[in-house]
Amino acid sequence: MSALRGRTAIVGVGQTPYYKRGTSPDSDVKLALRAIVAACEDAGIDPRDVDGFVSYASERSDAPRLMAALGTREVRFPALAWIHGGGIPGALGLAGTAIVAGQADVVVVYRSMAERVGQRLRVNVAQNDTTAQYLVNGIESPVQILALRAQRLMQADGVPRSALRAVTRASYYHARNNPRAVGRQTNLDDETYDGARMIADPYKLFDCSRENDGACAVLIVSAERARTLARKPAYILSAPMGTLEGGGALEENWRSYYATAGQAGLARRLWAESGYGPEDVDVAQVYMNNNAMGIGALIDHGFCTAENAGEFLTFENLIAPGGALPINTSGGDLAEGFIHGMGLVAEAVRQLRGDSPNPVPNAQLSLMTGGPGDWMSSTCLLGTEDTL
């Protein structure tokens, strides 16, 4: 257990429409404002009262660019969680820590992207930190780097293609019920999956996340304040961030892990701090830059092993409402769309409120895992009042 367990909660969610990359009529700053104001309206909080602004990775819409339009009275806690998609749950943890420490009262965690004014996400996401050791040798995109890990996960550790196909099919199945989902029209049967073009061996098209324009924001306040608001709070039980020795910026030289997500240490902290384990989780939003890395995250969190991944990761097991572990119930990064993974937080909250497009009945514990295989990562467990 930790001093932060259940002390703060997500009380508002705001999401803009998701656009095909480069086609948003609005700039990233305007999208961020839309999402933040929507999250405030959802929570019943005046946007002027937001005094903490936390994001991650290469977010451009920082507090100074937003505060005049929001009417912000005072920015008290502006911060960025380091690294890429690995920082999302860590950003929630940062927000919660600030509130418990008395440094802010209402913290928004958000991410906004508009590639027309920004860059391709796959360039932007890397923050120009892809090293010469990769670029000299024809490796640029995260999909290529993650393909190296997937090759190992599949060929050396024995995770079968069927597991990749199952997580992808579950994501697209869930997207059908989500009006926001960019991939909702795609009927992803086995034939479509298997017949897709190769991007970077072993990754085919539907193994990859999308890149979209849009924004997503969630609002975090103290547990005491959360109980006075309209929406059912999603309490932050634990949101650890970090990396074990042997991780970091090591250019394929990770020794303590390689093919999984680098989240085993985080998962141990998550279960210890929350007092729960993988068997207790009702529903999971798993960041999938690529699907095999998401499988690595599930292995690191103890839902399955590389050896039994093929048995556990079946379409039936992964879908709402009745699967053993419904994942990515809005369609996730593969099928809903990809605002650098931030949409997963919104969906993790919706599951606890019961207003997911694919609700898991009576969901009490909702997991959201951060960017797997990132140099540093994070993970988060949200729970209802009953789980405190």
């Binding site: 391709r120 190992r152 061996d201």
Partner: protein, 148 residues
Amino acid sequence: MQYSFEEHRIVGGNGADDEYWRGLERGVFQLPRCAGCRRWTWPAQFRCGQCGSWEFEWVPLEPNGIIFSWTRSFYAFDRVVERRADLPYVTVVTELPGADGARVIGVLKGDETGLRIGTAVRGTIDPPCEKSKWYPSIRWEIVRAEPG
């Protein structure tokens, strides 16, 4: 010596591997070893986190290794479009038993037959060219049994 890569610097790394590229450009494959505790330290660092030494020696070694992982790229991604004509091409992560298992990335050269994790490869050095962004590069080639 005027080095090509120094005039075409790629930002993004920690900048500790200049001697690796200088070595390759002179035709020498070398990796850093901590001068204090003698550990191979790869990727290159400014300080040995194990013993605290700031000194490293760059040791030439035989580029013999085994394939740790690989991928075949089918798409000309933005910052490596120079390789468009070579698509699909294979990039290999090679593990070097001679350097405590340090893993060094390079593009596969020659026949792909036998391409899989665990296959023995040997490196040769390509001089700077456009495809390698005017850096020198190590190329990994699958080791074939000698005929007869």
